[in-house]
Symmetry: D2
Subunit: 309 residues, 4 copies
Amino acid sequence: MTFSRDTAGVYAIAPTPFHPDGAVDYPSLDRLIDFYGEVGVDGLTVLGQLGEAPKLDQSEALEIATRVIKRASFPIVVGVSSPGFAAMRSLSDAVMDLGAAGVMIAPPNTLRTDDQIVGYYAGATDAIGKDTPFVLQDYPLTFTVQMSNSVIARIANDNPGCLMLKHEDWPGLEKITALRALEADGAMPRLSILTGNGGLFLDFEMERGADGAMTGYCFPDMLVEVVQLSREGDRDAAHDLFDAHLPLIRYEQQPGAGLAVRKYVLQQRGILDSDAQRKPAGSLSGAARREVDYLVRRLASKDGRARIA
Amino acid sequence: MTFSRDTAGVYAIAPTPFHPDGAVDYPSLDRLIDFYGEVGVDGLTVLGQLGEAPKLDQSEALEIATRVIKRASFPIVVGVSSPGFAAMRSLSDAVMDLGAAGVMIAPPNTLRTDDQIVGYYAGATDAIGKDTPFVLQDYPLTFTVQMSNSVIARIANDNPGCLMLKHEDWPGLEKITALRALEADGAMPRLSILTGNGGLFLDFEMERGADGAMTGYCFPDMLVEVVQLSREGDRDAAHDLFDAHLPLIRYEQQPGAGLAVRKYVLQQRGILDSDAQRKPAGSLSGAARREVDYLVRRLASKDGRARIA
Amino acid sequence: MTFSRDTAGVYAIAPTPFHPDGAVDYPSLDRLIDFYGEVGVDGLTVLGQLGEAPKLDQSEALEIATRVIKRASFPIVVGVSSPGFAAMRSLSDAVMDLGAAGVMIAPPNTLRTDDQIVGYYAGATDAIGKDTPFVLQDYPLTFTVQMSNSVIARIANDNPGCLMLKHEDWPGLEKITALRALEADGAMPRLSILTGNGGLFLDFEMERGADGAMTGYCFPDMLVEVVQLSREGDRDAAHDLFDAHLPLIRYEQQPGAGLAVRKYVLQQRGILDSDAQRKPAGSLSGAARREVDYLVRRLASKDGRARIA
Amino acid sequence: MTFSRDTAGVYAIAPTPFHPDGAVDYPSLDRLIDFYGEVGVDGLTVLGQLGEAPKLDQSEALEIATRVIKRASFPIVVGVSSPGFAAMRSLSDAVMDLGAAGVMIAPPNTLRTDDQIVGYYAGATDAIGKDTPFVLQDYPLTFTVQMSNSVIARIANDNPGCLMLKHEDWPGLEKITALRALEADGAMPRLSILTGNGGLFLDFEMERGADGAMTGYCFPDMLVEVVQLSREGDRDAAHDLFDAHLPLIRYEQQPGAGLAVRKYVLQQRGILDSDAQRKPAGSLSGAARREVDYLVRRLASKDGRARIA
């Protein structure tokens, strides 16, 4: 199971389930994987930023990756971002041996100039091996690294393993249009573009040329359906479904707070036993929980999948 | 005409209209002021970040403030943020003499520690005079200055002119709750809290204790109505109206791109002659204009005010 | 009086003298200009960051520039950095009419990608006119904008008025070598490279290919002599003189505190009446003044110009 | 072997020796430890930022710590900074069991407000245990976290294990004075203050109240002697020795480039077999090596320890 430059659909971003005491909750992880299969995702990404990867130690990271790869019936991408190339290489080698479809690499937040960014990904390719498929994560809001279109083109040209872009620049619609134009001009090879940002612009991102979504919204079933409707050209239907979810998408996309919302809803949906995060952790106040409950109830009147209380 | 610690309602943020050649467009400015009066705003803020204030020279800034203060029948707040206190003092003195209700002060993006922020506002009060009412602008995404609740309390305690908070932290719902609790405990004087961020969380901000909105969304009429419904306790109606606008609010709130959307819609509504920005400027691609048109058309089916094509 | 791509020597950065009440101190300014003439600088830059330019209003800035240009017998560069191109154009036009040799432009701290930086300087050239000579200021520590060698080459190629680089990247020695190599390869036109950073690396910067210094160290006479010795190939003598000053250079180069040291020593040298800064201002504690006195006394045993107490 | 609130002297920061192929060079590490013992350091810190700790995997980090603790006859501090508390706890527990004197904790670069910083160190104490001695690292230039004096006081008050401050704010002299005043007022418990920043201000830091240095300058023997002279009150002698080294200190303190200089000189001194860094790595150009050689030769005429060619 692998991905390619033409991969389309939804790759969910999996949170890492924890028990309230901070231990990894493997039964919940199993349920989560099965749930993603049932709702029809095309792939899954684990150990990303919202998977709380930096809070895991190496043995935990590897155990989680192993478990997910074994259980899932779809391709698994594993986040291997690391301050040093030695740790990146060892984690990447290990998960590729286990059967991962590829890895995802975010830039360290010290990079500034175009040359620094391009140079970093050359080093990363050196570390993971040039045949290992990787996802380039472009997420300036969190990583403070801004990749221009020409930098993405240079990275795609220089590194044969760069097959997919996790697009979460903000604003980012023009970027999709510009990258597709660069591809059409032969200035860069095609990339599969899956969009993030919690899905906040998925409706228009699809229309600009994205292939799908790679994000962790707590109703991945909606993502799957919006992507499908959009790919079939049913514009109004895609927007209708998307708009019904937008109040909750917007609420979940708050920086820092978002993961707590996501885990809380997945708990309400019966998939996670707990919404606990490992420390240092965000959490949801009582008022925030009631707001999420209210949003889910309002959503339920438009989308039956939200009837979860 | 002034504002107080108890001011409630909507203070619109006015964009500055320009002709395509970069000159200030005063006839459009007049129409804009009249428009805000007609839709029932409670006040207006000019020369803020989204009013392109840093691109004006001092004489232009003063001329715009003069014109708006003379024409409007509601209180005017004037942005006087400046790297140095000398320029802040001269602009503040001038607009207060002209009849402004008060001024708004954003923190320079070099401030980091609590003491630095508190010290800066002490200097600002020195500059504008301790009896001049001012709005404290808390907008970390743009200014990169993070004010904790206790910093806001210290500023409110130290500076008698600090009457209002332009709240646009993100996430920011818990901040409203916390500030209202500090007030209830007597730890700080009451502030009028008007929220910004393009209105993206106005629905819940009102429920958390905000007094209203201070933002520039291109349908200020909606802001006025949502604030009113929420203050009357008509929760579902407030959310229904808000949710109808959310797809466009979300689109308009994109950093950098947002002002172009706002000016474009105000032009479509017949208020501005041009959606031009002064350089360095953002602009809207053809694809983006068509997306905005589509969003407005969809909105029109739910809110008649959007039937503007 | 003008400068060119081949200009060599020392352009001092002038502080702006203030009275303790914050008013501009013009008699001290006159003395300062005369002093720079006496020590043999080749030019002078006013209204830069360390000239407290952002704290002046436009009329003050213009008055200072006028006074300096009229009085000086050497070329004057005027800082015209501004958030908007309108203010940049009006100040640049005014000072060029008055007889300035050129202007200096620092990048706004919102720029990140190579294309953003290059685009900004294209806009600046539009604003000041393509025949106006300008100095490109590359100072990442203060402006947080990192210009790679290729970005500087693009700016130099695109903008015929870009004749000089104020080099203050840190570390920056390799950058000088790389830029000279790009020039030798024909990849960019020659720039006059004058170095800043308070002179902290002037000894080696000269050896790497710099043409001189543009900085505000409180003994510009030393800068003049070190540059001359270095250009004459008297390496050890240049280092000996430089090393004698290094303890004080290092002390003066502290971010934020440095300007206070500089003004204090210039006051001790009898040039400024006061070491006051305009608010928001740094200042020197009693302990710090005693440390500077100690450093100057130690310096005096090696360089007679420092016998100023 | 441990440290306390009254510890004085020099704690060297050890680089991690690598072979050119990136493997840890243990024989060089052994020589390095012995060298520190011979020059009379009072302690040693390993696995800090300049020890390239983020580029090691957990097993390597542990092996290095084990080796150093076993071999050294002085207290060892181990850097345990980590994005998550789980990894911090496991490394801290392991090295304390092995006999480390304590750990060092730098703040993650996402912290901004005073409360966030204070809260983070509360979490860290939870993770490492309240009886584990720790060094608070205050290094804004690298970590972008600015700790005001009151924040340091709060951390020292809240966390009984916080015994020592690695002071490398810049400028930082007033901070030492202010912290000692807070201690004298009873507003915070005494901290051992050892200064960093490559030693660039060690001369005056000692006079302001620092207890010594914790830094990695390539002549730790000089640090030991300057600290001793300063503690004995021999001011001029301390400055004379310091000033002789300042040209090289200044050169070594360049961000990014500094570690390459340090390793190169330690190699020239016969302690390291190679000056290799692990990727992503800086390196020294031929021109830079020649500059360092020149500086060392000039130093050798004043300090015999520098006769190493």
